[in-house]
Structure formats: structure tokens, C-alpha cells
Symmetry: C2
């Protein structure tokens, strides 16, 4: 490695490193050989945490156990133990025992209480978790922990993802510079209320669990809950936010403090980056599409319209084809369930170019112009409902042959 490359590499490490956090990823052979599939995030004592989990009624064993442990450790976990290759979902009572067993074994090695370990799993549903392989790999995993290996960890939590999703923010409050780093995996089963999506965010600021919870929920609502690939949700979703306090600044418990505001802004920005990264890497995705709905009576109806469009297989296949098929957009808006919708007041835009109004194609519409726009990989669909001031944004991808191939071949 030459010096400038080395500097760049060190800068990248410095960019992601969070005082009070060490990370590691190793090969445990859970389902596939020759890939990292067991990841640890260790936190210094005193670290606080908050989490948001799937709302799917069939939540996986690790979700149940992580919820229990987070309560039992008073929101001060010391270790996140994450595996891919097996979701430990649809495994009934045996799955709960398996998740608890791994936590106990990890805690024993590190001299922690079992409840200070939170388990996260993603991968195939309905197979028993190979606890032996995980437990055998723990010494190797813990020995590998370092402040630097964020990229490795972000690779280690991937399933059908094609690239790691990793980001950092530095925020300055009262002359102190704090860091916030996060990683996420997803790619399939994404949608509001999340999906087989895991995200882990850590900061060196000191924040109370209550305030972490408030800020995390707000950030998730505007990011991970506003993305969708296929409308399916998963049994294993989780977003965890931890604050180590290792920076040594004041403990933050006031949502109106400067630290809370600076942290919240960094958190919302990073969550949005990671969430959009999940959509860009969506299964078979060839387009990244922002759907902006404005002029609604309230945010809820804007979201209804946005998600109806985002979930329409006809719209998604047209996006894949680069076909400016505003008829399908119009049909999706029409079935979104809005009360008393005056269809003549609705206007549809692609990248700020009007394509439909008055219930018909826009007068200035030139198909070749719009088709040209749609060749881009990043698209904006704008819907003006013309009946209020509310607005909402949602991000999604298209439906391609590859989506079918990936999901016909992959046993999730």
C-alpha cells in the first residue's frame, strides 16, 4: 500500500470508528462457506441503547429475546451478536432456546450477564439455528474485535445485498465533535414497518435511553419506514441505536438541548442515507425512485397514495421498462382509497416535468422527452393531489426479471 492509499484507508477507519465501540466479523460456516456470517459489536460499560423492532406478528426468536434482554439490562447492553445465513424465525420454542443459549455462551466468555447480549439474525426462515457453530466461533470472534473493522462488519451482516451499507456523521456541539456511525443490511422484504432489515447505529455521545428511544423512533419513521421494495415485511427487522458516552461530554436527556438537536439531525440524515442505500441495493433493482406526494389533506393520505404507487406491480414493471405509463400511475392513485378525490385536480410529474392533469395526458406531454427522462437510474415521481397542504416522500425500486429470479431461487 502506498502512503496516499494508506492515508485514505486510515481516514476511512477514523471516519467510522466510534470511541467505546469495537467490531468484528468472522466465518462461522452458518450456511455458506468462505463468507463472514457472525458479527459482534461490543460496547464499553455505561453504553445506553434504544431499538425498534418488526411489527410482524410472527416475530422471530432473536427479536423476542432482544426485546426481553434490552429491558432486563435496563437498556445498557454490552454486546450485539449478529448472524446471517439463518433467521431463526418460524422455529417456535426451540428457536427461543437457541437464541438465549448463544447469548448465555457469549456472556460467559466475556464475563457479562446473558441479558447484556442482544441477538440478531437474518437469513433462511424455518431452519434450526446451528448454535454449535456460533458458539464455537465466539472466541475467534471476540479476539478479532477492533475499533476499525466497520467495513468488515457491514459486509458480514449482508444476505442478498450486493454491497455494504455503511455511513458516518460528525456533528459539533459546544465545540465538541461527536461521531455517529451506522451499518444496515436489507435488499429484500423491505417496506414500511421495516423488513428483513437490520441496522446498527452507534455514537460516542452520552444520551439517556429515553431520549435515544424518542430520537430513534422519529428518525426511523422518516427513513426506514418510508422505503419499500416489494411490500413484504420480515419477521426479523431491527434497528438498534447505542450511545457509548465515550466522548466524555455531558449526559444528554433533554430533547430541546443543543446536543440532542445536533445528534438528531445527524441521526436522521444517516438513517435516510442507509435506508435509501437499501432501496438502491433492492433485489433486482435497476431504478431508484422517489415518490413525492403533495397537496393532500393530511400526511396519512399522502402516504396511502405514495405506497399504493410504490407497491403497484404494474407501475414497477413500467419503471423497469422505462415506460412513462402515467395511466398506471393514475389507476394506482385512483384506488388508493382517498375520500372524495376530485380526479381533475390531480397532477402527475416525472422529474418536475408534468405528464398528466385534468384526468388526462398533459397538453405539453411529449412522449419521447419523458421516455428519455425515464432512462435515468434516479427518478422522481411527483403527485399533486390539489386538496390540501400535507406532503410525504417514499422511496422504492422497480420490478425486474432479476427480482423474480432472485426470489424464485433464494429460500428466505
Amino acid at each position: 500500500m502506498n502512503d496516499s492509499k494508506k492515508d485514505a484507508a486510515e481516514a476511512a477507519v477514523a471516519q467510522h470508528s466510534v470511541p467505546g465501540v469495537t467490531v468484528a466479523a468472522v466465518e462461522a460456516g452458518i450456511r455458506y462457506a468462505d463468507r463472514s456470517d457472525l458479527v459482534a459489536l461490543s460496547f464499553d460499560e455505561g453504553t445506553t441503547a434504544a431499538a425498534v423492532f418488526t411489527r410482524n406478528a410472527f416475530c422471530a426468536a432473536p427479536v423476542t429475546v432482544a426485546r426481553e434482554h434490552l429491558l432486563a439490562c435496563d437498556f445498557m447492553p454490552r454486546l450485539l451478536l449478529i448472524n446471517t445465513g439463518n433467521a431463526n424465525a418460524g422455529t417456535g420454542e426451540r428457536g427461543l432456546l437457541a437464541a438465549r443459549h448463544c447469548c448465555e455462551e457469549a456472556a460467559a466468555v466475556l464475563g457479562l450477564d446473558g441479558s447484556e447480549v442482544l441477538p440478531f439474525s437474518t437469513g433462511v426462515i424455518g431452519e434450526d439455528l446451528p448454535t454449535d457453530r456460533i458458539v464455537s466461533a465466539l472466541p475467534k470472534l471476540f479476539a478479532a474485535r477492533s475499533p476499525a473493522d466497520w467495513e468488515k462488519a457491514a459486509l458480514g451482516i449482508m444476505t442478498t445485498d450486493t454491497r455494504p451499507k455503511l455511513g458516518s456523521r460528525h456533528f459539533v456541539v459546544d465545540g465538541r465533535t461527536y461521531v455517529l456511525s451506522g451499518m444496515a443490511k436489507g435488499a429484500g422484504m423491505l417496506r414500511p414497518d421495516m423488513a428483513t432489515m437490520l441496522a446498527f447505529l452507534t455514537t460516542d455521545a452520552a444520551v439517556t435511553p429515553d431520549l435515544l428511544d424518542t430520537l430513534l423512533r422519529r428518525a426511523v419513521e422518516m427513513s426506514f419506514h418510508r422505503i419499500t421494495v416489494d411490500g413484504d415485511t420480515s419477521t426479523n427487522d431491527a434497528v438498534l441505536l447505542a450511545a457509548t458516552g465515550a466522548h466524555g461530554g455531558p449526559l444528554c436527556d433533554d430533547v430541546d438541548s443543543e446536543l440532542a438537536k445536533g445528534f438528531a439531525a445527524a441521526l436522521e440524515s444517516l438513517c435516510l442515507e442507509l435506508a435509501q442505500g437499501l432501496v438502491r441495493d433492492g433485489e433486482g433493482a435497476s431504478k431508484f425512485v422517489e415518490i413525492r406526494v403533495s397537496g393532500g389533506r393530511d400526511e396519512a393520505e399522502c402516504l396511502d397514495v405514495a405506497f399504493t404507487i410504490a407497491h403497484s406491480p404494474l407501475v414497477k414493471t413500467a419503471l423497469f421498462a422505462g415506460d412513462p405509463n402515467w395511466g398506471r400511475l393514475l389507476a394506482a392513485i385512483g384506488r388508493a382509497g382517498l375520500v372524495d378525490l376530485d380526479v381533475t385536480g390531480v397532477r402527475i410529474f416525472i422529474n418536475n416535468l408534468i405528464i398528466a392533469e385534468n384526468g388526462a395526458r398533459a397538453v405539453d406531454y411529449v412522449e419521447s422527452e419523458v421516455a428519455e427522462l425515464m432512462r435515468g437510474e434516479d427518478l422522481q415521481l411527483g403527485i399533486e393531489l390539489g386538496r390540501g397542504d400535507a406532503r410525504a416522500r417514499v422511496w422504492t425500486s422497480d420490478f425486474s426479471y432479476d427480482y423474480v429470479r432472485i426470489n424464485a431461487e433464494y429460500r428466505s
Copy 2:
């Protein structure tokens, strides 16, 4: 044609023919050459009718005009004028004028009032209806009318359908044999609340419009509203039921009469056959899947579960792959929004073979057995919720490469 073939052909004609109804299909060149695209169903004077239309807020011009005309003619229309190749949807005010113009021209040729003509369109959205081609073809269309050409008419209303959907029922009441014949087109955009789906049913019984309306709504609820291909609905859906009374039997106005009961049974049976025929011919469909949900607290939650499964792209791609991926079924059930669902009480079956229970794979599950079952083209997914006595059935198809191909290529 040899005699036995001739007899069979005559029997088929006799099977579909409905006294008081003549049908015709001709080539008007609306969008494609060398195919029938303009269809007429003519009714004798005194024929009564009822109709159910799309609930999409963006309803197409012909839907608006057919609704108006049905009211204006006191539910006694004389002609259905149906075109494919152009949906006359998303055409604003011009579309309404075009639909009315075609009705007026047809009425003038036949000596009817404009309101006695009901227009129906299916095909591309957002293009102006080529009224000149339709009007020019009217004399040829009307000259071609015969009691026999049901097969031709069923072919003439197709778009991406690969085969005509046509059926008949004979029902006997008080020693009189009545006939009910119907045709439908669909293939894409199907779902509850219907889709780009047109169905026309006629009987020679004499039934009041009010009773027709009651019986039609009931039959549609249990058939066309229980099918889905992709969850999208259309701007043009319509199901029309006409009763010519040409049989000469008594006028039926009592829902509890023997005639109403016999007619209702025939109607429900034929609607179900046509609806299932639409799913079997769904875009890119390689499987026909019945989803039976039982043990729900009420029918609504059974339907929520059934449609969540039926619309899940992950379930549909697994069906395409013949993959007994009960994990995806379980995840879909878990996100259907049921209050207080005890997931350990849920059982999942494929063709009566149990595959999941107690939140996990069934003890007796043998993957090779289930995979063998799933090679069949007709599948039943059974979901027992274990919390009540309500049940519901829904029919759907899988998601294949062909679905993407058809919808990426076809401008609807």
C-alpha cells in the same frame, strides 16, 4: 366438417345462445390489424339490466357514460357496444364526448335512443378513442349480429388474454328450462373491486332490474371480487347482467321465489367459473392458487389474510418456483394486521398437507413431499387461524418472468 363435428358445433351454439340476444364481432382496426376489436350485444325490447362498475376514482369515460345511460334508459338497455385496443381512460372531457358520440351514432343506425346504448372499452390508457373507425364499422357490426356467435364475441373482447372466457348454465324452474350465458376478459390488473375486467352475462328469464342488481352484487362479491393477479385495479371494470325475458316465463321480482333461487345459483356458479378463468389466464400465470382461510373471527379478517398472501410478491415468486416456502406465508400472515393474533394457533396447509404449526415447520413436514405437491398447476393454500368460525376463499396466480415481460412490454 363431418356430421359429428357439425353436431358438436351446433350443440355449442345452442349451449350459449340466449333467446332475445344477438351478438357480433368485427375488425374495426382500432389499434391492431387482423383482429376483432368491436363487439355488439343486442337485446330485444323489454330486456332489463344491472351492472357493477370499478370503484377506482379515476374511472374511464365509458364507465361514466354507461352509468348515466343505464339510469337514463331505466335499466332497459338495447345495445352493448364494446371495443378493445383503447380504454378511453385518462382522456378527460374529450373521452366523455367520444363515448357519447359512439353511442349516439350506434343508436341512430338502429333507431334507438342514445341512452339505450352502453359503451365499454378496454386497452391502452390515455390515447384518444378513434371514434371514426368505430362509427365506420357500425353498419358491418350490426349486419353481422346473430344468436350464435358467442365464441367470436368472447374472442373480440380480449386484450392480453390468451383464450376466451365463455360459459353457460341451464337452470330448470317449474318445469321451464332457462339459459344464462356469459363472457369475460381480464388477464391483468385483476383484484378485488375488479380490474380491467369486463364481463357480460345474459339470461332469457324475465327479472326486474332491482332483483337483477341484488343478485348480481351478491354473485360478484363471491367471485370477481375474490380474485387477484397483481393487486392492481383498473379504470374500466364492468360486469353487466341482462335479462331478456324472451323465454316467456313469469316476471321475477321476489328474491325468495324459486326462479330467483335457481337463477342466483346459476349466476353465482357462472360468475365463479368466469372469474377463475380470468385468474387461470392471468398475465404470465403458471399456477392457479386457491387460498382458503378459516378459523377467523370474521370474514373480513379472513379476507385480509387471504389477500395479503395473494398480493405478496415473495409468496408469488416462491409459487412460481414451486418452492414450499412456508416462511414467506407465515411472514405474510403476520403482517396482515390481525389484532391479538396468537401465532402459535396458526396452521398452514398445502393441498391439505400440514406444513407449519406452533409458529414453526410441522413435525411431519417432509420437504420433498411438499415440493412434489407444488409441481402441480393447481394448488390450495390453507390457513387455519384457530380463533373463530369465519372463513373466506380467494383465487390468485403466481409471479413469473412472463408477468414482468408482459407488463414491461405492454402499454396498458
